[in-house]
């Protein structure tokens, strides 16, 4: 399973950063053609990103870093052009901003499919992540999450969401609670990833970690990030502790043994083990592996 603990935002107008982002080993890099690029720079950023993605794809792939691009909304004159370039560059994921309804996704999907066909790319290869940035989008979250087989994740765009809610962002994030809850519920129902918003105070590690711990507990897969130094911090939050890893190893070992013996029900440490516990144990081990923890045995 692809982890999405960290999705690093990278403005698509800086060749050095585009070239180097995979080095910091986020799970995904999200190149931005939208809000971080000035209107006057849209064309050059798109052109730069197109060429760089084509060139650098193997390096990103080798490092296991997913490539995502945030396109401009199809309401703008740039949206279609972004799609034309990025699908042809064979970026892995298109992130649709400001998604309010399933129709927003259908529209993008229609163009992606056309371009894939024109460019001779396997139909369905280009995946989609949607960003929910309004109360309407949050209320439609479930129907959006289930609307396309290309959809692999749902993110919340905090700044726009809070603005549309006619409030501001606070340190405890109470204004984000409803939106976050809707999105994580919808994403989980649809079996896709749930990605939290950015934490914009780059120098506040403590606040960042606190927020990361909270959204992890809520069920999110990870966060969008604005600086490479946040990658390690969020990965640490998602790294299971030793006790949890050992327990998960015992559960998986017992499961394999039970399956070999044809047993349906079995226990570990005196507790009955069933499907959700096994799934949780598997997820813990995936996170531990991603964090580079060596797991030679169960002790």
């Amino acid at each position: 399973m692809k982890l999405r603990r960290s999705m690093l935002f990278v403005p698509a107008n800086n060749p050095g950063i585009i070239r180097d982002s995979y080095l910091y080993k986020p799970d995904s890099v999200m190149f931005d053609l939208e809000d971080s690029i000035a209107i006057t720079e849209k064309d050059s950023a798109r052109c730069l990103l197109f060429n760089m993605i084509k060139k650098l794809k193997p390096l990103y792939k080798e490092a296991g870093v997913e490539t995502v691009v945030r396109i401009n909304s199809l309401d703008t004159e740039f949206g279609i052009q972004d799609l034309e370039a990025m699908v042809r560059a064979e970026i892995e994921v298109i992130r649709i901003p400001k998604t309010d309804t399933p129709e927003d996704v259908y529209e993008v999907e229609k163009h992606i499919e056309r371009i894939e066909r024109e460019a001779g790319i396997e139909i369905g290869k280009t995946k989609i992540i949607v960003a929910i940035e309004s109360p309407l989008g949050a209320l439609n979250a479930l129907s959006i999450a289930k609307c396309s087989p290309r959809l692999i994740g749902m993110a919340i765009g905090g700044e726009d969401y809070v603005t549309n809610l006619k409030t501001t962002r606070s340190t405890d994030g109470v204004e984000m609670m409803m939106g976050r809850a809707m999105i994580v519920m919808a994403a989980r129902s649809a079996g896709i990833a749930a990605v939290d918003s950015v934490y914009s105070d780059v120098n506040n590690d403590e606040g960042f970690i606190k927020e990361a711990q909270m959204i992890k507990q809520m069920g999110f897969d990870g966060k969008s990030l604005i600086h490479p130094r946040q990658i390690e911090l969020v990965h640490k939050v998602y790294t299971p502790d030793e006790k949890n890893i050992k327990k998960s190893l015992r559960i998986i070992k017992a499961t394999e043994e039970a399956m070999a013996e044809g047993k349906g029900v079995f226990t570990v440490d005196g507790k009955m083990i069933d499907k959700p516990i096994i799934e949780r144990a598997q997820h813990v081990l995936e996170l531990a592996k991603a964090a580079g923890i060596k797991m030679g045995g169960d002790e």
Binding site: R19, D20, L23, Y24, H227, P228, R229
Partner: protein, 514 residues
């Protein structure tokens, strides 16, 4: 007095005293050329070495065409002594002077004119920068410039390869007898490590200060016993100039990534144990290593026994916190370093000879465990260039690079794989300053690369799970990203000779074809 006690007859009968002089009066015997005739007998003893102007002092020391003079570069970009003195020397009409500065910085562009006008015809230094470097690369010097490491320069002076006739030493404070330092006064620069060697071995030593203090001045970096004259000028330098951009703590994620990889390698090397020693060069990544090390020292409850070389505030803080035992300081890279040298007795000023002369009885670098160094270019054979740019033009300095790389148990060279559109890691460096066999580890953002001459380190790193990458792969990746530039075309004309620390010639720099 008339000496009736000792006669030539008596001396004749004492072995080895046959030709010695008999006492006649207190100041009858004087070293040649140092005294002027005075009325009063005791006035013959100089109680004041101050001279009113540079012009006068230059006359007094008897500077002649073709002589060798020296300067130090502790003020780095803020130096005002060299331009001032050279201006006077030019004005006085001297020709064919050899200028042996410990380094030339951005503050020394006036040298171009002095070379063109024939005032200066020879240059010896660790570094050449800016217009002077470009000019020399372009062949304005009638002779070959000589590039030496800091240890190599000290060796050359001590061994007599480089004979200095007159040393002009800028000191932030001096008393009337020449006891001087770089830590008191209005223009401080910290350690006077490079100048100490000049003061020791030059024929004539002139202290130039803008802060003349009451006798005796303390601390004494250059003692009065070595000083001929003291001259006061308006301003010897700008203290802020010692801090170049290269010494600030970085927030650049790539430099931090490299620093983190360096730390991992250091921890896995087996040398990171209580009492280890280290030196870091300038540059964001190597300075960041210092900060990361602090956390590890605390976590492991160990101490670094001594830090060496060019000192920054980061090391001064480690000393203050008891995480570093002592500092041997040949040069200060920021005012935090200067302040520490002023107030902390565990922070010791050392000469360039003590620091790195390969031919003395043992230099400070000889007991180094780690050194972290930057590079302009590194090649397949681990050779390092820190002197010429990718365009073939001289632009930087040899410094203590080859001295420390040769002696540290683990020498680490850090560099980004590419800078702008050019590869840092390549088949052949433009100029070799530090030979590859003394470079143990190269660290780039792609990982740690171990010199095949150090299989022991490689084994340790592999065991620790450190991400290793072979030199061939680094070069291949660099070529993939930026391609291969057209080779620089040089003419046959040699413009500079690069000496290794022992005085052997490791490379020459040629003029670029236009």
């Amino acid at each position: 007095m008339k000496n009736a006690r000792v006669t030539e007859e008596i001396l004749k009968n004492i072995k080895d005293y046959e030709n010695r002089k008999i006492y006649t009066s207190p100041f009858a015997l004087q070293p040649e050329g140092t005294m002027e005739e005075r009325e009063n007998l005791k006035d013959k003893v100089r109680r004041d070495k101050t001279v009113s102007s540079l012009k006068e002092v230059i006359k007094k020391v008897g500077l002649k065409d073709g002589m060798t003079i020296s300067f130090h570069h502790h003020f780095r970009d803020g130096d005002k002594v060299l331009p001032l003195v050279m201006g006077v020397i030019a004005e006085m009409g001297f020709k064919n002077i050899r200028v042996a500065a410990s380094s030339f910085t951005g503050a020394h562009e006036c040298m171009v004119e002095h070379i063109k006008n024939g005032v200066v015809d020879r240059i010896e230094s660790s570094g050449l920068r800016g217009e002077l470097a470009k000019g020399i690369s372009d062949g304005i010097l009638p002779t070959k410039a000589v590039i030496r490491s800091h240890g190599g320069r000290a060796r050359a002076i001590v061994e007599g390869d480089l004979k200095i006739d007159v040393a002009f030493i800028g000191a932030s404070s001096s008393d009337c007898m020449g006891n001087s330092n770089g830590v008191v006064g209005k223009s401080v620069c910290g350690s006077l490590g490079y100048a100490m060697v000049d003061a020791e071995y030059a024929d004539k030593v002139i202290i130039i200060t803008d802060t003349l203090v009451d006798y005796p001045n303390y601390p004494v970096s250059i003692p009065q016993t070595k000083v001929d004259y003291v001259v006061t000028v308006d301003e010897i330098g700008d203290s802020n100039g010692i801090m170049s951009g290269a010494t600030r703590f970085t927030s650049n994620p790539k430099e931090l990534l490299i620093a983190k990889k360096v730390l991992e390698a250091m921890l896995a090397s087996g040398y990171f144990v209580d009492g280890f020693s280290m030196q870091t060069g300038t540059g964001g990544a190597s300075l960041a290593v210092t900060r990361f090390i602090k956390e590890e020292l605390i976590k492991r409850g160990i101490k670094c026994s001594y830090a060496l070389g060019g000192i920054t505030k980061a090391f001064a803080e480690l000393l203050e916190e008891g995480l570093v035992g002592k500092i041997f300081d040949v040069q200060d890279f920021d005012l935090g370093g200067v302040e520490s040298l002023t107030k902390n007795s565990l922070h010791q000023e050392i000469s360039a000879d003590f620091y790195a002369n390969p031919f003395n009885k043992s230099a400070g670098v000889n007991r180094l465990d780690f050194v972290i160094l930057s590079a302009l270019e590194i090649d397949r054979d681990f050779n390092v260039n820190v002197i010429s740019g990718s365009n073939g033009i001289i632009r930087a300095a040899s410094g203590g690079h080859s001295d420390t790389a040769a002696m540290a148990k683990m020498s680490v060279v850090v560099a980004p794989l590419i800078r702008g559109r050019l590869a840092t890691i390549m088949d052949k460096v433009t100029t070799v300053v530090t030979p590859g066999e003394t470079v143990d580890v190269v660290v780039t953002e792609l990982g740690v690369t171990v010199n095949p001459l150090r299989p022991d380190l490689k084994e340790k790193f592999e065991k620790a799970g450190i991400e290793l990458i072979e030199m061939d792969e680094l070069i291949e990746k660099a070529k993939f990203l930026v391609g291969e530039p057209k080779p620089i075309e040089f003419t046959d004309e040699v413009v500079a000779v690069v000496e290794y620390r022992d005085g052997s010639i490791i490379d020459v720099i040629r003029k670029v074809k236009k």
